[in-house]
């Protein structure tokens, strides 16, 4: 593939839709009267939906030196666009800036998914990260948001530096920056992969690159935390996957006989450490937002185990397991954070007796917590079950044991939250039962509940796989 070959713009159809929405949001923001952001959100949602439709209806799989269209990595765009839609639906209308920033982050994620070159990956990574730093800062900042945004910015910058260093080592080793299988792994390419993988692990929030995560999730608005914990994590997992496979002609059903390129023996260790750390730290939290942040670290560990299942290879179901876990996680985590946003609860104390004051919202949150904890009959249970099953089918028996034990640890705090909501008397800080979602937010809540329940059908994993590989 000659580097001077022009890249047809039709490859970028979903991204063009999102860019047009971004331009429309900025144009709306230029009105002389300060708008209430509703029009910007509408344009944003339209662009995101258009991108989603174009993913399914777009050009067939094709592959150039810089970008690709179609293929496995682009399926991640469905997750990104859905998470963006949920954010746009739940976010209060306060001007066009958050919409524009979100669309910019979404554009970066889409570019990450469409990348076929390490530099395109880097541009996507940066374009995704910079608006997120600003989104954490928000429109009505306080000291905590400022601290969280600055922490995120500096640590994210360090992670990007690591990625660039890994890129340069990769180029020194292989003489190209294309995402292609680099032949036999050598110490140089392993070092490069480790460095670039560190940046990906940072985005996922895996140990030992997780230190920014609890502060950032606690300080930012819950809708933004929902978006970050689902879409950005998915982007990090995608980044790891792309770094390990390289080439775009990847056969999703298990490889064409060639050995699966290995990310490194550190992946299962990092996965186990992340799960355990997240669950142990979550047990001690008094703030629900921070607890959910640590729970998302724990889930990131299970995601990495699912990724390792894929890398272990050869059984034909691995990518569907990863996708099913991502899908279930998207809905249950969004639901949990949206509940926090709409009920105004941020401390565990405030949950005391909430079930008595607002039964239906409390039931919804309990459903989300059951799903996160992996209690049947929820989608979260099935997702974890498939991960453990695939680990046992492969060579990851000890990792399966780690996932199972960590699920038990997780139940410790998820169920204690449910108990606080239902069995405790309402405390002095429990909010009254006013829980008024807007129409769009209500729709998202319904979707999350439905997905968490319908996901228990065992065929759901195959349906999702078929849908995403259309």
């Amino acid at each position: 593939m000659n580097a001077l070959t022009p890249v047809p713009l039709s490859l970028l159809a979903p991204e063009i839709a999102v860019t047009l929405a971004l331009a429309a949001a900025l144009a709306v923001g230029m009105k002389s009267r300060p708008s209430n952001g509703l029009l910007a959100r509408a344009f944003g949602a339209l662009g995101v939906l258009a991108g989603l439709i174009l993913f399914f209806w777009g050009p067939a799989y094709s592959d150039t030196w810089l970008l690709r269209s179609g293929g496995v990595a682009r399926a991640w765009q469905v997750f990104f666009h859905l998470a963006a839609l949920f954010f746009l639906a739940a976010h209060e209308a306060r001007g066009e800036r958050p919409v524009a920033l979100l669309l910019g982050a979404l554009l970066g994620m889409d570019l990450l998914a469409a990348a076929n070159d390490l530099f395109a990956l880097f541009i996507g990574l940066e374009l995704m990260s910079l608006p997120l730093y600003l989104l954490v800062y928000g429109l009505r900042p306080d000291k905590r948001k400022l601290e969280a945004a600055v922490k995120y910015f500096f640590t994210g910058g360090a992670a990007s530096g690591l990625f660039l260093f890994g890129l340069s080592v990769w180029y020194a080793e292989t003489g190209t920056t294309a995402l292609a299988p680099g032949g036999l792994p050598s110490p140089g390419t392993s070092l490069a992969l480790a460095l670039m993988g560190s940046a990906a692990l940072f985005k996922i929030g895996a140990v030992p690159f997780h230190f920014w995560l609890p502060d950032v999730y606690e300080a930012s608005e819950p809708e933004l935390s929902a978006f970050m914990s689902t879409a950005v994590k998915a982007a990090g997992v995608l980044l790891l996957m792309l770094l390990s496979i390289g080439h775009s002609s990847f056969d999703p059903l298990g490889g064409s006989g060639a050995a699966f390129p290995n990310l490194g023996a550190w992946l299962p260790a990092v996965s186990a450490a992340t799960m355990t750390y997240g669950n142990l730290m979550a047990l001690r939290q008094r703030s629900v937002r921070r607890l959910l942040a640590f729970s998302s670290i724990a889930h990131a560990g299970v995601l990495l185990a699912a990724l390792w299942v894929w890398q272990d290879g050869g059984h034909g179901t691995e990518l569907s397991t990863l996708w099913f876990y991502l899908g279930a996680y998207l809905f249950m985590n969004t639901g949990a954070f949206l509940f926090l946003a709409l009920s105004g609860i941020s401390e565990v104390e405030q949950l005391k007796g909430y079930g008595a004051r607002a039964p239906w919202p409390a039931a919804f949150f309990a459903l989300m917590l059951f799903s996160l904890g992996g209690v049947p009959p929820t989608a979260g249970f099935l997702a974890k079950f498939y991960v453990i099953w695939d680990l046992l089918k492969g060579s990851g028996a000890w990792l399966a044991a780690a996932v199972a034990l960590n699920s038990l640890l997780g139940l410790g705090y998820y169920l204690s939250l449910v108990r606080t909501m239902t069995l405790d008397e309402p405390g002095p800080r429990t909010p009254d039962g006013s829980f008024c979602p807007s129409a769009a937010a209500g729709l998202v809540l319904l979707l999350c509940a439905a997905a968490s329940l319908l996901g228990f059908i065992p065929e759901a994993r195959e349906w999702l796989f078929t849908l995403l590989t259309l």
């Binding site: 713009l9 331009a23 900025l26 144009a27 923001g29 230029m30 020194a172 050598s186 110490p187 070092l191």
Partner: protein, 116 residues
């Protein structure tokens, strides 16, 4: 190649540590009297912070400059090679310029270019 990197890292560390440690180890042991170490201000004792206050809008202009400078860096090769490029390159660069122009209009409208 990885060994070269590790050797490089070790040499850099050794150099930095060596330079930092050599001065107190091999230098003369003499502490200046307190008055001689102060900055010179024509005999008056120094007052106020040594650094002045800086307007934050300087930083904003610096960031905007960097953004539009990178825009320029992309424009220059395109302009020079325009003759040899296809129509699609024209479309791509026009889209890019439109986006940059829209951003500039947005900044202008929001008052980011004011210098008060």
């Amino acid at each position: 190649m990885a060994t070269a990197l590790i050797v490089n890292l070790l040499v850099v560390l050794a150099l930095a540590a060596g330079m930092s440690l050599a001065s107190p180890l091999f230098g003369p042991r003499r502490t200046l009297p307190r008055e001689k170490g102060l900055p010179y201000e024509t005999g008056m004792p120094p007052f106020g912070a040594p650094y002045g206050r800086m307007t934050a809008s300087y930083w904003r202009f610096a960031v905007l400059f960097v953004v539009f400078d990178v825009d320029l860096a992309f424009l220059v090769p395109w302009v020079l090679l325009r003759r040899h490029l296809t129509f699609e390159a024209m479309v791509s660069m026009s889209a890019f310029l439109l986006l940059i122009g829209l951003t500039l209009a947005y900044l202008w409208r929001k008052g980011a270019l004011e210098c008060d």
